[in-house]
Amino acid sequence: MAPAACLNFASMMGQGSSFLVTLSKPQQTPSGFSIRYNDEVLLVTRVWEDTPMDTWNREHPTRQVVYGSHVISVNGKRNIPEMIIALQESCNIRMEVARSLETELLDEMISRDRKMWNPLVEEVFNSLPERHCNCCKNTSCAVCLEDFDDEMVLQLPCKHAFHRDCISVWLLNRSTRCPLCNQVVDDSHWSWLGQRVTGCGSSAVYMALSWFVMV
C-alpha cells in the first residue's frame, strides 16, 4: 500500500526527471549543505539544520534536497568546478536537482575513498605506542570484549587501548577513528593532504578519488 501510493505521488509531481531549487542568502552565508564530488558527479551528503537549504526543504516537501541528491547544474553551469564556485560565491543560487537519489553511488564513493587512506594510516599505526594495560583508560578491549590481563596493549592518542591485533584490522581497513570515542587517530594527514592537493587553503579536503566540501 505504502509504495504504490508513493509511485502515484511521484508521477503526479514529476514532469521530467529533475526539479529546480532556488536559494537566496546574504553574502558569506553558507547555503547549508555538504557535497561530495569527483570529475563527473556532484552529490549532496548532508543538509545542515537552520540554514537556507534546511528552510527550503521545510517549505518545499516535494522538492527536498537530501543525502544522495544529484545536483545537475548550478546557475546554468554544468561543469563541476564552475558549479562549486557558483555554490560558494553566489548569493542567488538556481540548482537543477535530479529527482532520483544516487545513494548507492555516494556510499560507494565514500567507501572507495576510505580504502585509499590505508597506506597512510599504516605509517601512523606503526608509530602508535605500546603501553602496559594498567596505564590505560579502559580495562578491556572493546573489539574482542576480553578483559586485559597484565599485558601490553596499543594506546591511541585519546588514551583508549586495544589489543594490537584487534585494533589493527579496524584502523588499517575500515576507519581512522577510535571505536570508543570516535576521535580521529591522526588528523595531521588530513590537513596535510588537503593542503597538498587543493593548494589554496580552501576548505575542500582531498579524498583520494572524490572531494567533499560544505557550501
Binding site: 508513493c6 505521488f9 516537501p61 556510499d107 572493546a142 574482542c144 570484549l145 577513528r177 570508543l180 570516535n182
Partner: protein, 150 residues
Amino acid sequence: MARNRLNKEWKEVQRNPDPDILLELDGDSFEQWRAVINGPQESPYEGGRFQLKILCSASYPYAAPQVSFETKVFHPNVNFNTGELCVDILKTDWSPAWTLQYVCRAVVSLLRDPNADSPLNCDAGNLLRSGDLRGFNSMARMYTIEHAMS
C-alpha cells in the same frame, strides 16, 4: 574473531537481558540471530512486538551486522516491503565497540525518533516532513495493530 566475540555477546545477553529486547541465536551457527523488540512507550508502536533478523558476517565486529525488520512496520527509515532499515550506526557510523544488544537499542530509539531526512518509506517521510504528525501516527498505529500485536 567473529565467533569468539559473538559467543561472548551471547553469554552477556543471557547474564544481563534487556527487558525490552529478546535477543536469541537463530540456528546453531553464530551468524544468524533473531531479536524481538518492544515498541517504545508513547509512540505509535507502543504495545507492538517487532521481530528483527540479524546477520553477522565473518568480518563482524569490523563490519556492521545486517539488520532488517521481519514484522511489517510503517516508519520513514524502514523499507515497508523488505524491512531494510536506514540508520547511521549500521552504515557510515559503525564502530566495533557496539554489540548486537546495542544495535537493538538503537533500533528501539529509531522507532521512538523517526528521521524524516533519509526516508526509505517515502509516504511515512512525506507525512512527517509536511508536519502531518496525526496522519503519520494513525498510519503507524494501524500497521502496528495489524502486524505487531497479534
